[in-house]
Amino acid sequence: MSVLTPTAARPQRWRPVFGYWLTAYKRTWRGSIFGRFLSPLLFLLSMGLGLGSLVNRSAGGVDGVPYLQFVVPGILAAQAMWVAMGESTYQVLGAIRWQMQYHAMLATPIGVDDLLLGHLTYVAAQVTSATVIFMAVGACFGAWASWWVLLALPVTLLTGMAFAVPIFAFSAKQESDSGFNILFRFIITPLFLFSGTFFPVSQLPVWLRPVAWVTPLWHGVEANRSLALGSPDALAVLGHTAYLLVFIAAGAWVARRTFRGRLVT
């Protein structure tokens, strides 16, 4: 996140921005907590246990791993993507166009960087809480094979942010919400389905595999899975993490430019 704090001369002005979003969230948290707890539980039961029983019966799991333990780390990463997407679209465009909170904030000593950092920190908090809840639910069902899974928390957070930061930039470019439909249906949904979440990427046609390798979700899924299964290849996990960090840094650079362009000039 250090990309977003250019000088030490303006310390901690992102905090009131973070505080604002948190205050707003306090008014609607009930609905979201319910959904956040229930939705992973349902996916876990349906995909992990229901579908898993079919996979285990005919193929003996995936590469010898029971399907539940194969699929749940993937869903964990995918959930971070969903939460990041949910928090970075309508709210950002709303703060620019409809409710205009950003404009109100910029009328104070808060700058564009503080605005971005504060709001992104709030999104990071959302991704973290959703991930922690999911990990607890997963533990109840024996979805984790190893304590290494605790390291999946930071990896999942990075996966979420690798979506949140570029989507902030995308949202700041929109005039109406119709672009979100396209983003949701043509990017997020295919990623959810083809990034190795539900089946290994090796099942994809050869030409499609490199596409999966480029997407941040695949890196999050792979790192999570190797951690959750308890035999992490340190170098591979570091590689995936580095990829996610580069993705976030590049996204932050673009987001700064688009926010400046949209809000200041």
């Binding site: 229901g50 029983s53 079919l54 389905l193 089946f199």
Partner: protein, 278 residues
């Protein structure tokens, strides 16, 4: 969907019409449909996206997961490749999703923010026209998606029987049941936050209506609950048609969906009347 109505209805006839549950008194619903078609011309991208989603699911689940799951024994007793098993379920659930989206989010926006129905009711159109017109519009769109998806399913070789030709009207029936109840529910919504409840109803059905694995996978007591949900009947109907497992038992699925749709339609017309005309 809409009977031919005339502008000036004789009072006796209109009284009789009001006794009839649904289409009567909704003779001008097609005008609302026409309005929606016109306003939708700019939304062509939404048509493409609505079609793309089930196709992505079909290829991901059918090809990717299919190679892990291989074959499934349906509740009808035939053994089929996983893609063939899941394709009808995707058709049914996308019919549900489309209908619910149209009849909740879109209608809520028109009801609360665009105040569209206030303007509509200032014309000769009545509340039943609004109910029938909006639901009819959702069905027209849904049928287009269903036909397109069926074409993809046929091309992918997942269809076993000529009965599949009835899969499109069946998808329309599923859409009708969900759109009617969805719109009825929308008339009770106070704010966008209430839409969490819509997701809460839709998502478990999508995951647990014998969509991704057969009913026999569930424990006995749960099977009974699954069979109560409307999407289960939609999925079972589509699966029977596309795999050619047709029998008299299908009448139960059809009957369930018809009754659900009619109840929703009557309820919606009453609520619109109460909300906007009293």
């Amino acid at each position: 969907m809409s009977t031919q109505g005339t502008l000036a209805r004789p009072t006796a006839a209109s009284r009789v019409a009001r006794l009839l549950p649904v289409p009567a008194g909704a003779g001008m619903a097609r005008i609302l449909v026409e309005r929606n078609v016109m306003s939708f011309r700019h939304g062509w991208i939404a048509i493409i996206t609505g079609f793309a989603e089930p196709v992505f699911y079909l290829f991901s689940l059918g090809i990717g997961l299919g190679s892990l799951v291989r074959t499934v024994t349906t509740d009808g007793g035939t053994v089929v490749p996983y893609a063939h098993f899941v394709a009808p379920a995707l058709l049914a659930s996308s019919a549900m999703n489309g209908a619910v989206f149209d009849s909740t989010f879109n209608v809520f926006f028109k009801l609360k923010y665009a105040k569209l129905y206030d303007s509509v009711l200032a014309t000769p159109l009545g509340p039943r026209d609004v109910a029938v017109g909006e639901i009819g519009w959702a069905l027209i769109r849904g049928s287009l998606y269903a036909a397109a998806f069926l074409a993809v399913a046929v091309a992918a070789g997942t269809v076993h029987s000529w009965w599949a030709l009835l899969a499109v009207p069946a998808a329309t029936l599923i859409g009708f049941a969900f759109a009617a109840v969805g719109m009825f529910a929308t008339t009770f919504m106070r704010s966008w936050v209430d839409f969490d409840y819509v997701t809460l109803a839709i998502q478990p059905m999508f995951l647990f209506s014998a969509t991704f694995f057969p009913l026999a996978t569930y424990p006995g007591a749960v099977q009974w609950v699954v069979q109560l949900t409307p999407l289960y009947h939609g999925v079972a109907l589509e699966r029977a048609l596309m795999l050619g497992e047709v029998g008299p038992g299908l009448a139960i699925h059809v009957g369930y969906l018809v009754v659900m749709g009619l109840l929703g339609l009557v309820g919606t017309a009453r609520r619109i009347e109460k909300l906007l005309l009293s």
